[in-house]
């Protein structure tokens, strides 16, 4: 269904029929932007969000204690450590709340965009990648360092660290595809302005051609 406005613009409210939104871009034999790839990421991110929210609720003292089936009281020592308090003085909010926000961002940015967003909205995929990959790796390293720095371990924090690393493994293919798409556009014309336009989701014959090559003309 389409609507043609007075200035001649066409507004589609469904997907354009001539484009294969399930096309697999090189080098993959699947579409990394497909819902089957993105929904699991969002579900796992939501688990991280719920765990982090629970830990933040403890840091806000809205729940009396932090559940830990493995390390017992050590979880609360981690969540109430000097490092945690120092971060709270700096951030003004508990560090677990910021973690919850990051996981929610993973889920929200994972759901936004079409199943061909690696081409149509590279900025969104890159933003999603920044949220998942560098932030995920840094948070996982910080959590894994807690034993050395704080001297205690927090089971749920370790679970969120594992979730972060799983998300990195699941998300990198789509980010790589978008970066590869942008790189090929750049290599074709060496035009910074064209690259920026492509990154921002503006069409051009060059971007269309590169995408067609990556998907085998689909």
């Amino acid at each position: 269904m389409a609507e043609i406005t007075q200035d001649g613009r066409v507004h589609f409210f469904t997907h354009p029929k001539d484009v294969d939104f399930d096309a697999s871009p090189a080098p993959w034999d699947y579409n990394p932007s497909a819902w089957s790839q993105r929904v699991p990421i969002c579900l796992i991110a939501m688990v991280g969000f719920l765990i982090s929210t629970y830990l933040a609720l403890y840091q806000w003292r809205l729940v009396p204690g932090a559940f830990d089936p493995v390390f017992g009281e050590q979880s609360q020592q981690v969540l109430d450590s000097n490092v945690s308090h120092a971060m709270r003085r700096w951030l003004r909010i508990p560090d677990a709340a910021l973690g919850a926000f990051a996981y929610l961002g993973d889920a929200v940015f994972g759901l936004a965009g079409s199943t061909r967003r690696w081409q149509y909205r590279p900025w969104l995929v890159v933003l999603f990648g920044i949220d998942v990959i560098p932030l995920g790796i840094v948070s996982a390293i910080l959590v894994l360092m807690q034993g050395a720095v704080v001297g205690s371990w927090c089971f749920l924090c370790l679970v969120t660290a594992v979730i972060s690393l799983v998300l990195v493994a699941l998300a990198y293919d789509e980010v790589w595809t978008s970066l590869l798409f942008l790189r090929r556009v750049w290599q074709r014309h060496r035009d910074g302005r064209l690259l920026w336009k492509t990154f921002c989701g503006q069409p051009s014959p060059a971007a269309q051609q590169v995408a067609a090559e990556m998907t085998g003309g689909r």
Binding site: H11, R89, V108, R116, P203
Partner: protein, 88 residues
């Protein structure tokens, strides 16, 4: 109180405008609203004393920033791509 009411009115206005095709990018104006909420949270707190309301402003501001950058009808290609695809 004024911050809460003003932010709510601005958020609702820009969010509603973003549903209308001629102003579909109005959601971007919610970015300064989110930034303002975070700034208000920091200005109303100190390293030693952070009122609950200030934390609420910071959390809400972060949430608004995250949602404000999402385009309208993000499940579809951007409008210019749709126009190009319609012509080809």
């Amino acid at each position: 109180m004024l911050i809460d009411f003003g932010s709510a009115v601005a958020l609702a206005t820009f969010a509603l405008l973003s549903f209308w095709p001629p102003t579909e990018r109005a959601h971007v104006f919610n970015l300064p609203v989110g930034g303002g909420l975070i700034l208000a949270g920091f200005l109303r707190s100190s390293a030693t004393s952070v009122p609950a309301a200030a934390q609420n402003h910071i959390m809400l501001g972060l949430l608004v920033l995250m949602l404000a950058i999402l385009p309208s009808r993000s499940n579809l290609p951007p409008r210019r791509w749709r126009e190009l695809l319609a012509r080809t």
